[in-house]
């Protein structure tokens, strides 16, 4: 049998053992009763860098191209906004009537401006949309707006990406790359950025002047304009194809970053497949909410156009509302005036994660960003879940 002897006489060890509590009590009593710190530096710095929400005012609204407006946000007192990695977005809270919804917009200004309390976003008008016409027609200089902290993962990561980045932008999808271009110019990032930018016509190009300026100021940023509806000297014509990417990528390794409308992604998927790139070299901004679930693989055709009952449980309260099969559950919840959390609205970030208590939903595969165990336990992201039956869902939180 094992026998261990540490002190000179084993019995003293036992006394010492019984003394454990006395030793501890002595340590406690010898300690000062000074008030505990209410603020910890590390925690405060972390909170400033990753704020849950930020309060800003609209300092300026600038027309940008034919149908886009750039909104300049500033802090009321000139204090800093959270620094971000160029390409990230903020989720913006938009109250419209009884509804409070959110939209995510890429930060298109230089991170350098964040230090002075300034962020820019660009809102392109989509007349069929709910939010962009409202913002364009109603937002005024001086108005207070609540936004999230910086979010998202479309940014240059030197430990992962090729040193040369080919950015494929469609329309207002230029915004994250504007941020990147400024970040390179201002020394926040260090990589070669070639933006292949698809617009309809030369006249409709958003940020034309700014892009020219940043290219002139910084030899690491290049822009190639591709016009789909116009042939013009000095511009490429048509769509962004594999051939065109190869032409401007040149020799050596490169990463592709994409940002644009869903139709552009659908087209580019085919083109990029031709390039035979490893998956790590192809990154895209989020898909946005899918507008045509009935065209997605696995959709039960009979659900299209139907209306269902939706019961929302929130902190013990219950709301009975209506949900359309053709819209994400989040939209039905917001339309009923119920504040619910959301950020990316693309199924990816998981901020709206909610318990599906009963009922069936359709979740398009390409916007199913759920954790594996959430699939097993019936948690869904309402921003990317379409009802297929009457639904009971438990949501928690509010919109920013």
């Amino acid at each position: 049998m094992a026998y261990v002897k540490i002190g000179l006489i084993g019995k003293l060890d036992m006394l010492k053992f019984k003394n454990i509590t006395k030793v501890r009590e002595n340590e406690i009593q010898a300690s000062p009763a000074t008030p505990l710190p209410k603020v910890l530096t590390t925690n405060e710095k972390a909170k400033k860098h990753h704020p849950a929400k930020q309060d800003v005012v609209i300092a300026d609204i600038r027309q940008n191209g034919a149908d886009a407006k750039t909104i300049v946000f500033k802090t009321p007192d000139g204090s800093r906004l959270a620094l971000y990695r160029a390409g990230q977005y903020v989720s913006v809270s938009v109250p419209i009537g009884d509804t409070v919804t959110t939209r995510s917009y890429s930060l298109c200004s230089s991170p350098e401006l964040a230090k002075k309390g300034e962020y820019h976003i660009t809102v392109k008008r989509d007349d069929a949309g709910f939010v962009s016409p409202y913002i364009q027609d109603n937002w005024k200089v001086g108005q207070a707006v609540t936004i999230s902290g910086p979010q998202g993962h479309l940014y240059y990561e030197p430990l992962r990406d090729a040193k040369k980045v080919i950015a494929l932008a469609g329309g207002s999808g230029i915004t994250p790359f504007m941020g990147m271009a400024y970040a390179i110019r201002d020394g926040h990032e260090d990589f070669d950025l070639t933006i292949i930018f698809g617009s309809r016509t030369a006249e409709g190009i958003v940020y034309k002047k700014e892009l020219d300026e940043v290219c002139a100021a910084c030899d690491k940023v290049h822009v190639v304009h591709v016009l789909s509806d116009e042939e013009k000297e000095g511009y490429e014509h048509g769509f962004i194809t594999a051939e065109l990417i190869k032409k401007y990528a040149g020799e050596g390794e490169y990463s592709i970053f994409m940002c644009g409308p869903q139709a552009m992604y659908n087209f580019l998927d085919g083109e990029i497949a031709k390039l035979g790139l490893r998956r790590k070299f192809v990154r895209r901004e989020m898909f946005g909410a899918i507008k045509d679930p009935w065209n997605q693989p696995g959709y039960p055709a009979e659900a299209k156009g139907k209306k269902f009952k939706l019961k929302v449980i929130k902190y013990g309260e219950e709301f009975e509302v209506e949900a359309l099969a053709d819209e994400p559950l989040l939209v039905a919840i917001e339309r009923a005036g119920i504040s619910a959390p959301s950020r990316c609205r693309s199924g990816e970030c998981g901020w709206c994660r909610s318990k599906l208590v009963s009922g069936k939903v359709f979740i398009p595969e390409k916007t199913d960003g759920r954790r594996a165990a959430d699939v097993d336990y019936n948690y869904v992201h309402p921003c990317a879940s379409f009802p297929l039956s009457d639904i009971v869902i438990e949501v928690s939180g509010s919109n920013i």
Binding site: A2, Y3, V4, I6, G10, D13, M14, K16, F17, N19, I20, T21, V23, R24, E25, E27, I28, Q29, S31, P32, A33, T34, L36, P37, L40, T41, T42, N43, K45, A46, K47, H49, H50, R80, L83, H153, E157, P158, L159, R160, R279, K280, Y315, G316, P341, E348, G350, W351, C352, R353, R370, R371, A372, A373, D374, D376, Y377, S396, G397, S398
Partner: protein
């Protein structure tokens, strides 16, 4: 105002266990969590086609259906959580330099007492007797702990001396002292010390009992991981809690704890309204709670002194890597590899205080144990280090990304160099979590996910023996890493179950009175 028998603040492992236990005993329980998902550190996140495990290397004190250890007994047998998982066949591999500053160490230790002892004898011929003694005494210590639990800490001295003499003899000493007394060769001590980082106190100060318990639980019961990350474990607990009648509020932050004239808990103010309750079980750090959520006049001076006497423990830094090559293709066979700069834990602890000197790290390759952890042709590796001081308070926001990337790069390169395996070209996804990230997601002080340092005087045994006087604010108890047993999933779960039991005892006494 909604009224509950008990409010649990925070859905970390400790809070989840406490909530489940209260619900199991039929108490009307509300679990509130400031984040939108459970687990605290014990979670997961998605990037691209990968889902990353946030924290877990392997669960201790789990065992098997036939031979369950305490943690499994609580979660699976008592709470009824259904889990799939994988047994981790090896305890660890350690690659380092011995305390003598010269001898290279590269040792792989399997689970199971015999296999472990044989392997130790192979690496350090002549150490067998000391390792056998270590395990024999280790079993005695586990038995003593179980006896103490079975009598709720009211141990009988005579019984203890008769049955657990070695336990009493080693009980007040640090690891290195007892290893020496066991006549363990220095090189064997170096290897046996490997797990110190999991408790984040060097072996000159770390309580032998606490360390022996951990190593014995790992070696005797094996280690285990859930199939679908910690999120499977913690969401599974939430679901059972709901099924047992519990209420969960996510995205709900506790702001203040309310007290009645009797200085006992009377409610909780949250950003979703005020809740009436007489019992709060709190998964947040006591120092922060006392400083910001409880009125000064209800906190006994001794509690403030205790908080002031303590230091925060390890602050986490993790590099998460999703690679587009399989573990097999890369030639990675080991699950967890400890790679301190030196096996001298006191030296390593010291250099762990600063970014520039902290080279300590543990790697985990999940696919070696769970081949389906990530899509075919890929694998996931995490590289973890801990900071022994608050060096991240010195980082400015402008330098944050550059700082964390520089340190991540250094860890990746050290991994490559130590294993002779190239991984950098295959990084498809990378995320770097720093102490700031821990502050952000779980609001632990200084990013210290391990609670308070388990310094000799404040080790598990001392905390547990003083359990009765540990929390003097009436109706308020604490669970999690900052509670009675320190860090680790099993310890957090144990603390949750134990504090729930004590709260149930309070409730019984109230009813009787």
């Amino acid at each position: 105002m909604p009224k509950f028998d008990c409010v649990v603040i925070g859905a970390g492992n400790g809070g989840l266990a406490a909530a489940c236990k209260m619900a199991l005993e039929g108490k009307k329980t509300l679990l509130i969590e400031k984040h939108n998902l459970p687990g605290g550190c014990a979670s997961s996140f998605r990037r691209g086609r990968f889902e990353f495990e946030t924290a877990l290397h392997e669960l201790c004190e789990w065992g098997t259906e036939e031979n369950p250890a305490n943690c499994r007994k609580f979660v699976v047998d008592d709470y009824g959580v259904k889990l799939k998982g994988h047994i981790v066949p090896e305890n660890f591999r350690v690659i380092t330099t011995a305390s003598d500053g010269k001898t290279p160490i590269d040792a792989t230790l399997p689970c199971g007492v015999e296999a472990f002892t044989d392997a130790m004898e192979k690496y350090v011929p002549g150490c067998r007797k000391s390792i056998e003694d270590f395990f024999e005494i280790g079993q005695e210590c586990l038995d003593a702990g179980n006896y103490s639990l079975s009598v709720n800490g009211n141990t009988d001295n005579k019984y203890m001396m008769e049955h657990f003499p070695n336990f009493l003899r080693v009980g007040s000493y640090p690891v290195n002292k007892v290893f020496k007394a066991l006549k363990m060769p220095p090189l064997a001590q170096d290897i046996m010390n490997t797990y110190w980082g999991y408790l984040a106190v060097d072996a000159d100060r770390l309580s032998y009992l606490q360390y022996s318990n951990m190593v014995n639980l790992y070696v005797r019961y094996g280690a285990w991981i859930p199939d679908k990350t910690s999120h499977e474990l913690t969401t599974g607990m939430v679901e059972r809690f709901r099924e047992m009648g519990g209420t969960v509020w996510f995205n709900c932050t506790a702001e203040k704890i309310l007290f009645g004239d009797d200085k006992a808990v009377s409610g909780v103010v949250t950003d979703r309204g005020t809740i009436e309750t007489r019992h709060v079980i709190c998964n947040a750090n006591p120092s922060m709670v006392y400083a910001t959520m409880v009125p000064e006049e209800v906190i006994p001076e001794r509690m403030i002194k205790l908080a002031n006497a303590r230091k925060y423990s390890a602050r986490m830094f993790v590099v998460y890597l999703g690679l587009d090559k399989s573990a097999e293709e890369l030639g990675l066979k080991d699950y967890s590899i400890f790679m301190p700069e030196t096996a001298d834990s006191a030296k390593e602890y010291e250099s762990g205080k600063r970014m520039e000197t902290n080279l300590n790290m543990v790697s985990v390759c999940y696919n070696t144990v769970n081949p389906d952890f990530s899509p075919e042709g890929t694998c996931v590796i995490s590289l973890t280090t801990t900071y022994m001081d608050d060096d991240w308070a010195n980082v400015e926001e402008d330098d944050y990304v550059e700082t964390k990337n520089r340190l991540a790069k250094r860890m990746i390169e050290r991994f490559e160099q130590k294993l002779g395996v190239e991984i950098t070209p295959y990084i498809e996804e990378i995320e770097v979590a720093t102490p700031w990230t821990m502050c952000n997601f779980v609001n632990v002080p200084q990013g210290a996910a391990y609670g308070y340092e388990l310094d000799g005087w404040d080790s598990m045994m001392a905390r547990m023996r003083m359990m009765g006087s540990e929390y003097e604010v009436k109706g308020l108890r604490f669970v999690g890493a900052a509670s009675i047993r320190g860090d680790g999933y099993n310890s957090a779960i144990f603390s949750g179950n134990t504090m729930a039991k004590m709260t149930l005892g309070d409730m019984r006494r109230e009813e009787e009175a």
